[in-house]
Symmetry: C2
Subunit: 203 residues, 2 copies
DNA sequence: CGGTGTGAATCTATTCACAGCA
DNA sequence: TGCTGTGAATAGATTCACACCG
């Protein structure tokens, strides 16, 4: 079912975001163009990969379209995830309330410091790092936010993979090596700053 | 000078990261392949866009290559940036020490709550939001991390643009509208979770 | 007519295959 | 011989232009 081009998937993901925050009933591809900068042609092509009926002579039915995209992209099932590494960044996400509304359930936090786990106030259960494997398989957690320091990132990633994690969001500024079938997305501010610098430089 | 394809730029950015963390003198394109998963062909093509002499019969001179990439992509000049919105996420970045080593200098934090500014311990000067325009132009800040709540993101982005900001890293889960010439990169965990879900679904 | 949907054409990126070099 | 570098070939994404529909 990998017929949808990667770039289209990325745009469709942003599009659901946009659709969720509007409160009109219908929206045309040109209106989307003026809000996102992508050409209406591109948008219509992207949407053509989505099955369902949501088009009309006055544009797309906003809600139906959003639902159809989410279902085609597999965003309609709730998924469980965990946070590994509870420093300033990791622990900030323990309190991030948007996850629920978006279909992601944060079910565990891990840190190698037992002391830190005891001190932190958290709405989510916290565990010492040595329980990672056990907890991940018990709760069938498939995704992880990796917020440990750079020098521990690779080692920790390997433990996550062994435990059965299928996707890692890596906040450490390192290039992770993972086996086929495990998906990594790098999220890190320095890379983004650099990407903007490079874009400005090359234009 | 926009001859380098976007995807190549992205890979080259990750590559500098990798090169900086190795301590060998030479590295071949196949060694890079085994560490990153990109084919050695792709890597050689990417590197061919970089001017300079760093190749040898035993591979690339790691350090020379890293320097050449950084200079071609414009990463060799120190850039100033600010953080806007000092909630849990924004204030976490005030303490993030990696920026300096990577050529980015965090020179200001802004928040609309004067109370919060007074309470926070910060190694970086903090200002109330109404001083944004003044401070940004005084220090010639070109980049901003946008960490305000979603409902304030668009409005705040517009103020940043007016103040002369050229690049915004947007942590809010909304699609920002900005004029031509201003670059936005979206960094947000929910989107990344969704991207992984979609990739798993479509493969 | 306003819109959408989509093959065909164009443009871009990736892969291949081999020349050139130490 | 083992590497890089690069034109040529392939594969992929975007844009275009127009048929079609309410």
């Amino acid at each position: 079912m990998n017929l949808i081009p990667e770039p289209s998937v990325e745009r469709l993901l942003s599009l659901t975001r946009l659709l969720d925050h509007l409160d009109v009933q219908f929206i045309t591809s040109s209106e989307i163009e003026s809000r996102t900068g992508w050409s209406s042609n591109t948008i219509r092509k992207d949407i053509s990969y989505i099955e369902g009926s949501f088009a009309s002579p006055v544009g797309y039915d906003r809600q139906k379209l959003a639902t159809a995209i989410k279902s085609t992209l597999g965003l309609d099932k709730v998924q469980r995830f965990c946070v590994v590494g509870l420093g300033r960044l990791g622990s900030a996400y323990l309190h991030y309330s948007v996850f629920r509304e978006e279909g992601y359930e944060l079910v565990a936090g891990f840190d190698s410091s037992v002391n830190r786990i005891e001190i932190l106030h958290s709405p989510v259960p916290l565990y010492p790092a040595y329980k990672m494997g056990e907890v991940i398989s018990r709760f069938q957690i498939t995704l992880a936010l990796l917020c440990v320091p750079p020098e521990e990132a690779q080692k920790t990633a390997e433990r996550l993979v062994t435990a059965g994690i299928k996707g890692i969001i890596n906040f450490a500024p390192v290039v992770l090596q993972v086996p086929e079938g495990v998906h990594v997305r790098n999220v890190n501010v320095v890379d983004e700053l650099r990407a903007i610098s490079a874009t400005i430089q090359c234009s």
